[in-house]
Amino acid sequence: MQQLADSLLQTGFLQGVPTEAGYALVIAFFAFVLLNFIMLIAGVTSWLERRVWARIQSRVGPNRVGPQGVIQWLADGIKNIMKEDIVPAEADRPLFKAAPYLAMMGFFATFAVIPFGDGLVVADLNVGVLYITAVTALVVVGILMAGWASNNKWALLGGIRSAAQIISYEIPAGIAVITVVLFTGSLSMQTIIRAQGWAPWDWFLFANPFLCIASFIFFVSALAEGNRTPFDLPEAESELVAGAFTEYSGLRNLLFFLVEWGNLYVIGALYTTMFLGGWQIPPITEQPVIQGALQFATFFAKSYFLVFVAMWIRGTLPRVRVDQLMTLCWKYLVPITFANLIGAMIWFVLFPNGLAIMRFAMFALGVAVTIYFFSRILFHLRRARPRLRLNPIS
């Protein structure tokens, strides 16, 4: 992005503008574009999640606003914006008002390093992955602050649960990231993607067994960090009303949900970057615009598929208890991920350049598991009572 700003300052229409002001303009422009992008993503995700979830439960889901309800999120957003912004009388006013923006900041800052394409990245930081782990921790501060400032027992419990959960799951997620970093030797998102290839057997997911295990651990921990089902204890409706967001209304409530649904996309993007080869496409064209568009489409499709998987998990698994949540983290994920890291280190010493046969074996295993999975789906479909209808529009 800096090159773009520099070239604009030297040759483009920003000629004559002071350097700092030019940089600020370019930064503001990109922030605006990205903010709109994530609003769109979070909105459409909220609608799609409700539809997918409904179909999993044999319901129809929102299908009134627009064709098949595609602009339901817009109606919900407008409704929320027009609602009164209530601050409870006993609440800590400044903290209460600041909390959603803090959560929003922590989530929005991650988009600075998400690589949508070869050149489509706002800032290719050399500590990219570390930066993401650091700024997403800011969301905890926002949620804990919201819980505390609401002066409400449910909100406080939700906030504390959220803090305990996110901080615990940072460990397995961080170690899983380190496993990847071990094989690339760099924390930069672009370098991690360039270390992989466009073909599935060149992805880190299939590079060796340790990275494969790390990918699953990362996904589970990321779901927990994003407060997603089955780890959505901070807002467990049946116990805590709405957790840390209990007292929020209107736009501030909307911001929290924006963070939740947007975070889903961040999880998908991170996973795609680290394990699914990011924006890598086969070398079919040299034309930079088409190449960029294809890379963006590839990255988006991969990351959105993971968003879909998260919705699917939400429709499948029940919410865990607090003790189960902590057991899963400290007794299972943390030891496994450390053992996995040591195994990955040994592998790296033995085969510093990777093992081609292992790649193909892992890929074949992945294909076999996928085929078996589809055979199980067909098995359950044959036993299904309602009529089969593959048309997603109902």
Partner: protein, 177 residues
């Protein structure tokens, strides 16, 4: 080995569960989104004793006030008086406040003729509380007097048959349909 068993079981059950939910994803939904219509009117698909909005067949109401007494929240108001000369009950007022009604069905159980009953109609939304009060008596009318033997009046007989069937189904639900 419980530890590794747990891991294996977790993976196996989640794998299977995801397959089941994925199979549901491509099935037809069971439900119909509310205002959408099905082939039959929804009211026709509901059971005979479905507790929808209350209705009264004034032609077979005996004015016994059993329903008014049975109502736990006093949403039924009946004014009936005896005509001194003809010894006939005259119904002056029969109001049901459907805004108060909680659809418990206690009023239709003691009714001797099945005059007060629930209908399968359930779409009773309205803009004001006043309009939720159903006033059945427009002008004072004489109450129904049970005859000895079967009812012969062709206008009243079907109503009475229906009302008695309604009461029968309270006594032994599910026998007739």
């Amino acid at each position: 080995m419980g530890y590794f068993n747990n891991i294996r079981e977790t993976i196996r059950t989640i794998f299977e569960g995801m397959a089941i939910t994925a199979s549901h994803l491509v099935r037809e939904p069971y439900t119909v989104q509310y205002p959408d219509r099905i082939d039959l009117p929804i009211q026709d698909t509901l059971p005979f004793r479905y507790r929808g909005l209350l209705d009264v067949d004034l032609e077979i109401c005996t004015g016994c006030l059993a329903c008014e007494r049975a109502c736990p929240i006093d949403c039924i108001v009946i004014e009936a008086e005896k005509n001194k000369q003809t010894k006939e009950m005259i119904l002056r007022r029969f109001d049901i406040d459907l805004a108060k009604c909680m659809y418990c069905g206690l009023c239709s159980e003691p009714c001797p003729t099945g005059s007060i009953h629930h209908t399968p109609e359930f779409e009773g939304a309205d803009y004001s509380l006043e309009s939720m009060v159903r006033r059945f008596v427009k002008a004072p009318i004489p109450a129904y007097k049970p005859t000895k033997g079967p009812e012969t009046d062709p206008e009243i007989a079907p109503l009475l048959t229906r009302g008695l069937r309604y009461l029968d189904e309270f006594a032994s639900p599910g026998d007739s349909k």
